[in-house]
Amino acid sequence: MQLTRHIIAAIFVFCCFFVTPMHLVAAPEEEYIIISKTGSDSIALALNQLDVKGVGSGKVANSLDVIIRDALDFPGLFTILSSQVTVEEKSGINFSALGSIQAEVYARGAVASTAGNVTLDMKVYSVGTAKLLFSKTYVGKENKLRTIGHAFCADLVEHLTGSRSVFGSKIVFVSNSTGFKEIYQCDFDGKNVEQLTNSRSISLTPALSPDGKYLAYTDYSTGRPVLYIRNLLNGKTASSGKSGISIDPAWRNGRELATTLSFEGDQEIYLLKIDGSIYRRLTKSRGIDLSPTFSPDGNKMAYVSERNGQPQIFIQELLSDEARRVTFNGDYNTQPSWSPAGDKIAYTTCENSGEFNIFTVGADGTGLRQLTAQSGQNESPSWSPDGEMVVFTSNRDGKKRLYTMSSTGKSQRALFRMNGEQAQPFWSLFRK
C-alpha cells in the first residue's frame, strides 16, 4: 500500500512536432522519440506527484510540483488526463494502467531539501515501450526553485521533441506603468517582471542579443530617438552616434545588429558592431526601410520597405543584396519576425476594416495564415525560442497588453497583469 500512489494525469494540447534529420546530426548520441500518434497533435503526459525525501522537504516538494505543472502547461505542448489510476505498485510501474488512460509519457521524481539545498531526482518513461527515457538529478538553492523545476521541464521537452524549449527564456517589452515608456523584462511565463531602463523619457523597441548579454533599444533621453546598446553585465552603453533617427534594432548574431539610420537623408538599414560603429549598409531603396529580422543562419534579412509606396515585407540575401517581396495581402504590412526554425515570418497587417492582425507566411512567400481576428488591434509578433509560440500585443480588453498564442493562433491568453500598457515584446533566444 505504501508503494501505491495516485497520480493525477493531465492532457495538454500541442502542435505537431517533427524531428528533423538536422537534430539527429547535431547530437547523434541522443535518441529522440516522436511521441505524437498518428492523427493526434498532443503528447499525453502522466506526471506523478513528487515524492518527499526526508523531514521538512514536503513544502519544497509541493512548490516544485506546482512550478513544474504550471511550466509544462504553459507552452501548450501536452494534454493532462483527468482520471486517477494506480501506477506505482510493489511490482513496479503499472504501465498497462497508464496505457488505459492513454498516457504516452510518465514522469516521476523525488525531492530532498536540507539546509536550503534542494535535490530533485527525475525519471521519465515511455509508456508504450515501458522503458526509461531519461533520468537526471537537479541540484540548487531553495530560493531558486523555478530554475530547478524549469531545468527539468527544458530537458523533458528537448528529449521528447529534439527542440529547444521556452523554459528559462526572457521576454523584453515596453511599459508605461511609471508614466514613462521604459524597457522591462520578464520570464517566459510572465513572472519576475523587472525594469531595465529608467530614462524617464521614451524608451522603445528592445531586443536582447542571442547570448542575453546585450540589450539594444531606442531612447529619447537626448530629445531624439537614439539607439543604445547596453552591456547588461557592466551597464556600459554604446550608441550609434549618428544624426537623424536610429530605431528598431535586431540582432544578426551575438556581435552584429541591424538598425534603421537616417543620417544619409533616407531611412536605410545598416549593420552595426556592438560598439555602435557601422559595419555595412544593407538597403539602398528610396523611402522607409525598417524593422530588420534575420534568418537563423544570418544570411537573409526580412524587413519593411516602402519602396512601392506602401509598407510591405521584403527578404534580402545579404551576400547578393537581392531583395524580393513576400507579402501581397493588404496595403500595410509591418513588424516582421523570422521564426527560429527559419521557415516562417510572422508580421502585422492593417486589414481593410482598419483592424491590425497577425499573420504568418512562409519565407518563400507561400502558406499565408491568419493568427488573430476580430479581437481588437493585434500587433508586434515575436517568436518563442522553440518556435511553438508567438508573443504579441492586443487591446482586446481595452488596454494594450502582452498575449501569447501557439504558432497557429490557438490558446490566446494574456501573459500577465501589470499597470499601464505594454507593447513591443521581444522573445529572446537566451536561456539560463
Partner: protein
C-alpha cells in the same frame, strides 16, 4: 545661400490665404515651390475705426502676436507658426499645407533672428516603429520645403515623435487627423 526676404513674399501670401483652393493649382502630392518674385503691394495697416478716435490710436496690430485661426491653428497651435496636416500613411504636402508653409516662410523672413523646431507626429493607427520613420519624413519634408522657400536650414531642427506624443487623446477619425501633423515650436 540666398537670404529670404519676407517683404516681397508677403503680398502673395495674403492673396494665397484669401483665395479658394481652385485658384491655386498643384500637381498632386508633388512639392511645388512658391515663386518668390512678387511686387510689394500693401503694407499699410487698415485705418482705425472712427469709434476709437477719442483715445490715441493703438499701435498697428502686430500680425505675429495675434491669435490665429483656420488651417494650421487650433488648441495645440496658436502661432505664430502654423502646423501642417497629413493623410494616413503619407508625408506628402497638400495644397493647404503648402500655402501654410509659405506663410511660415514669410514669418521667418520677418523674424530673421528666430529659429524653430519641426516635430513630426503620427496617429496611433500605424505600427509604432513605422510611425517614427513616417514622422521623420513629415518633419524633414516640411523642413526641405521651407528651405526651398529660402529659409536657412540651420534655423530649422527636426525630430520625429511617431505616435508617442499625441495631441488629441480621442480615438475617432477627427482625433487621428489632429495627430497627423508637423508641429512648429519657435525657439
Amino acid at each position: 545661400m540666398k537670404k529670404f526676404n519676407g517683404v516681397f513674399v508677403l503680398p502673395l501670401l495674403v492673396i494665397a490665404g484669401c483665395s479658394s483652393d481652385a485658384a491655386l493649382t498643384s500637381t498632386g502630392s508633388q512639392v511645388v515651390p512658391v515663386p518668390l518674385a512678387v511686387a510689394p503691394a500693401f503694407l499699410t495697416p487698415p485705418p482705425a475705426p472712427a469709434a476709437v478716435a477719442v483715445t490715441p490710436a493703438p499701435p498697428a496690430p502686430d500680425k505675429d502676436s495675434q491669435p490665429q485661426s483656420g488651417y494650421g491653428f487650433d488648441q495645440w497651435q496658436k502661432g505664430p507658426l502654423g502646423d501642417v496636416f497629413f493623410a494616413f500613411d503619407s508625408s506628402a504636402l497638400s495644397d493647404k499645407a503648402q500655402e501654410l508653409l509659405a506663410k511660415n516662410a514669410a514669418w521667418f523672413g520677418r523674424n530673421p533672428s528666430k529659429s524653430a523646431r519641426v516635430e513630426g507626429h503620427c496617429d496611433s493607427r500605424g505600427t509604432s516603429e513605422y510611425n517614427i520613420a513616417l514622422g521623420e519624413r513629415r518633419s524633414t519634408g516640411v523642413k526641405e520645403y521651407l528651405v526651398r522657400l529660402g529659409v536657412a536650414s540651420t534655423r530649422l531642427e527636426t525630430v520625429s515623435f511617431g505616435e508617442e506624443r499625441p495631441f488629441d487623446s480621442g480615438k475617432n477619425s477627427e482625433a487621428m487627423a489632429n495627430n497627423r501633423r508637423a508641429h512648429f515650436i519657435v525657439k
